[in-house]
């Protein structure tokens, strides 16, 4: 059933509408929320919403509980290829838990929190940005790792990144909901403005697997991916940033293990026809992020690499 959960009047004959597809089956009381579209340039979650919606609607008898699907928390951003909220400076994922007395965006953020709080699980799907390609992964604040890692391990993804707490991240949707005892997993996968179907299918399988674990899904689950899910707490995440401004040519695909000394890309100068930087790994590791947008400045993130060795 399609429900409008937030409706805000716009100046000329239009409303900002945040809608959900609410699917209920059986007598189970658990509620799982799948949310995406906070950033208007991240579209991987659209595929998940469609696939889960289609699948559950055709097999409602196997559902035992409620799954609420929210494809667009920032509908105007998605429609206008705008990462943030049009007419609003701040990143939407930096204003939670919102403020009922604040600006329209802060008010909307507050209403979203009120809508989602109390769910048994929220899966917040992101797809990096237009600059970086990410392997399917879950990101977890170390403060909530104890609760969330066992759930995240069921999601059938390649990597679980347990990261340090940072004050600025306290204003994300996931942090706010977790603070309200609503367990929330953040999925990052693929790249901005694109849909990677293979990743989408991998996560759909993982969501069914997690739903089954929680007793919300009685149906079968497609075969899980081969190979283990890497948990970051056993090692170290290295960031590789550009040492030169130029054009980045990747020489490795993401989701690859690379050896020490291996060339993973080059930064080149198209005007002078020269190579400005050979980008090599100092230590072997699993490349779980790689630069997607070619133009770089000094400091631009080129790759993130996980290595099984404590720093």
């Amino acid at each position: 059933m399609i429900k409008t959960v937030i409706s805000t009047e716009l100046p000329v004959d239009e409303h900002l509408l945040i809608r959900k597809n609410s699917l209920t089956g059986g007598s189970g009381r658990k509620r799982i929320c799948i949310v995406t579209g906070t950033h208007g340039d991240e579209l991987e979650g659209q595929y998940i919403c469609w696939r889960i919606g289609e699948l559950l609607q055709s097999r409602l008898s196997e559902l035992d509980g409620t799954v609420d699907i929210y494809p667009a928390l920032n509908p105007m951003g998605i429609d206008s290829i705008t990462r943030g909220i049009p007419n609003f400076d701040l990143d939407m994922n930096r204003i939670f838990p919102g403020d009922p007395m604040g600006s329209m965006a802060e008010n909307t953020a507050h209403s979203i929190i009120e809508e989602l709080r109390g769910a048994d699980l929220v899966i917040d799907i992101h797809s990096s940005n237009i600059f970086l390609y990410e392997v399917p992964q879950v990101r977890i604040n170390q403060l909530t790792a104890g609760t969330l890692v066992p759930l995240a391990e069921k999601l059938n993804l390649d990597f679980l990144w347990v990261h340090e707490a940072a004050t600025v991240l306290e204003s994300t949707l996931a942090y706010s909901l977790n603070s309200l005892n609503t367990p929330t997993l953040v999925v990052e996968m693929g790249v901005g403005m694109r849909i990677t179907q293979s990743y989408g299918e991998q996560l759909v399988t993982g969501i069914l697997n997690l739903m089954r674990h929680l007793g919300v899904w009685k149906g079968d689950v497609p075969p899980l991916k081969e190979g283990r899910t890497i948990l970051s707490t056993k090692g170290t995440v290295d960031f590789i940033n550009a040492s030169a401004s130029g054009v980045f040519i990747p020489l490795i695909k993401h989701s690859n293990h690379a050896e020490a000394g291996q060339l993973i890309g080059r930064i080149v100068d198209p005007l002078h026809g020269t190579v400005l930087q050979d980008v090599k790994l100092e230590k072997p590791g699993f490349v779980f992020t790689i630069r997607a947008y070619p133009v770089v400045y000094e400091g631009s993130l080129l790759a993130r690499v996980y290595r099984e060795e404590k720093a």
């Binding site: 701040l90 600006s103 008010n107 600025v168």
Partner: protein, 308 residues
């Protein structure tokens, strides 16, 4: 005065990105002043340019008090200003959300780190800033409530109001917040609208900054005494929000006294001109903020009022 190149970043397709500083005097690092951090902060850049001009004049007259160093950085983001963007043009990140910066991090983290290194260690730090809500407002000074702030110092600018803000998580990466944490008394001086230069308010802010410097014995300069600045907690401002969307027909201006229940604005239907809703003052007070844009969304902030 020494004109210095504080930071250079090569670009593949454009000229070098440069941050320039103007240093006056030597000795105690007394005050650092920063202008445009965003590409549409023309007012802030203009104010700094006028300060550089005035300080040069004072220097030639021998009116800079010996033993004090003054640093003015009119722009930390000329690349955005030159192409009409607000944020860092490549990835739309905000330099003023990257402090204290990270010299090995992303590009705008590196810019923030390099800038912060130059700005650290000063007794006073002044950021010419734009108010976070775009619109008209009473010029004022803002300080973050970090536990290190001394609001009575901010009153020395002699602007009508001094606001103290309890920082939200996203404030912790601003220059103002980090200056405070690193033991500089930091002030954000707010005047003017993004994308515009307003001569009158610019002149007032230049005077306020000179007044502050004269008060602390950094320069010899006689300005008019300014206002007795009233200290307000930002959370005490009354917010009037739009209950309907439409065309805003505003009936009051900043600095105007209003009575409880007075009509402040009408929101008109954009098709037939009928009145959809009237915004009224919830309390007696002084209008602090009004929006600049004629179209308003439901739930957007229309007015902020300083209660009597």
């Amino acid at each position: 005065m020494k004109r210095e190149l504080l930071f250079v970043l090569p670009s593949t397709f454009r000229d070098e990105f440069r941050i320039q500083g103007f240093r006056f005097g030597s000795g105690e690092k007394s005050i650092a002043i920063v202008g445009a951090m965003r590409g549409d902060e023309l007012q802030q850049q203009f104010i700094c340019s006028q300060l550089v001009n005035t300080l040069q004049d004072l220097e030639e007259r021998g009116d800079l008090v010996p033993g004090h160093e003054i640093l003015v950085v009119p722009s930390a983001n000329p690349f955005a200003m030159n192409i009409g963007k607000r944020f860092w043009a490549m990835d739309n990140t905000d330099i003023n959300r990257m402090f204290p910066g990270y010299s090995l991090g992303e590009t705008t983290q590196r810019i923030a780190a390099a800038l912060f290194e130059q700005l650290q260690g000063y007794r006073f730090g002044v950021q010419m800033s734009s108010y976070y809500l775009a619109g008209h407002y009473i010029p004022h000074v803002r300080m973050m409530h970090t536990g290190y702030e001394k609001p009575e110092l901010a009153q020395g600018f002699g602007l009508p109001y001094t606001f103290l803000r309890n920082p939200k998580p996203f404030d912790t990466t601003t220059l103002n917040y980090n200056w405070q944490i690193w033991e500089t008394q930091a002030f954000s001086v707010c005047a003017g609208q993004p994308g515009h230069i307003d001569n009158d308010s610019a002149r007032d802010i230049v005077s306020a900054t000179l007044r502050f410097m004269a008060l602390h014995g950094i320069i010899k300069c006689r300005t008019h005494p300014g206002y007795y600045s009233e200290l307000q907690l930002e959370e005490n401002l009354i917010t009037v929000k739009a209950r309907r969307a439409g065309i805003l027909y505003c009936l009051v201006r900043p600095d105007e006294s209003v009575r409880r229940d007075q009509v402040l604005a009408r929101i008109l239907d954009p098709y037939d001109g009928s009145v959809r809703w009237e915004a009224r003052a919830p309390e007696d007070g002084t209008v602090f903020y009004t929006p600049a844009k004629p179209l308003v969304h439901e739930n957007s902030v229309l007015f902020r009022i300083i209660p009597n």
